[in-house]
Symmetry: C2
Amino acid sequence: MAPPGNDKAAAEVNEESTTERPISRVDSVGTISASLLTSASIQALQPDLIINAGPAAGFKVYQAKGTSLGDVFLGSDITLLDRRIPIPVLDLYGVGLCQAVSTLNLAKELNLKVGKLSAGNSLDMSPEDAAAITANDAAVKDMEGAAIAYVADLLKVPAIFLKAVTDIVDGDKPTADELLQNLAAVSAALDQAATQVIDSINGKTLSEL
Amino acid sequence: MAPPGNDKAAAEVNEESTTERPISRVDSVGTISASLLTSASIQALQPDLIINAGPAAGFKVYQAKGTSLGDVFLGSDITLLDRRIPIPVLDLYGVGLCQAVSTLNLAKELNLKVGKLSAGNSLDMSPEDAAAITANDAAVKDMEGAAIAYVADLLKVPAIFLKAVTDIVDGDKPTADELLQNLAAVSAALDQAATQVIDSINGKTLSEL
């Protein structure tokens, strides 16, 4: 599955709408659109497997261990970082831990890194988000993964998360600038990795990944 | 539409799942489940109108103007408070302004307050959330409204938001304690208001509300 980007369809619908909601004509990033798109895609296509490929942010603390701009990660544990509900049990629901298909063989074969992925709806990183990223032990952060993982798990479709690092969210450069500067080049690297993943999994069972 | 609470269905699905995700058996609060539930409900029921009735938080600043625990609000403008994307145009998309059906006659007839509603996935209020609530000029805050408004708008179904104040999120008491303490009594007030709303709108056109 490509990064959620149903901007044209949404814009067309909005344009005809009687409300005065502004027509943004931008990609529908974030967990709301991702959950709707995943649900609709599963219902329409009944896929054997979902591959969520998209940009992600890395962190200084992991950069120190060798993470660089352009690295492509396979997500292992998937969590939400911005659904904080400090009531027992609801706190665990809020984090929403899901597990991706184990892809250790794939990672070795294609020389991809494996790490935990945590998703939040905001591009910036508040102190609360940073604390959640640390608590979730996340190597990379995106804005949709946990919604896709939740819906895939609910509808019993296995999922793989392929995330390319476009920016270091706690780094020296403003996140939005760094993201936009690197998006084209990193998307090309992601495109190549996604093609390799699809070629490699062709004909294999899930347990072979 | 009642507050999202598809816990049993979700728990049953999870129980059979092969992943090791913990089974939380709590209500599925927040925007991800609300968007899925709204989409599925509209597809299944093709309703003329959605009424999203549920608990909400008020704020000190509005309490000073007369807002009290147990007040029932009709939401006017609906926004998201925790999708911060500081890139031009995407920032507006992030806030996701939708407008509810105008219900000024209904508010007058049933003596309900009218105010702007802003939704976020967290029960607590971070400084970033507080700033967004101020920027969105919100009178009440919930955890689902903006997702329901977005899907309803996308699928062209008019929506009304009926929100009863269970806690003052920037007040003196811990939010979770205050919420749980007041939930039963405020839910009864909300139940009464929802019944009055349904009785009142019966046979009317949208423009008469």
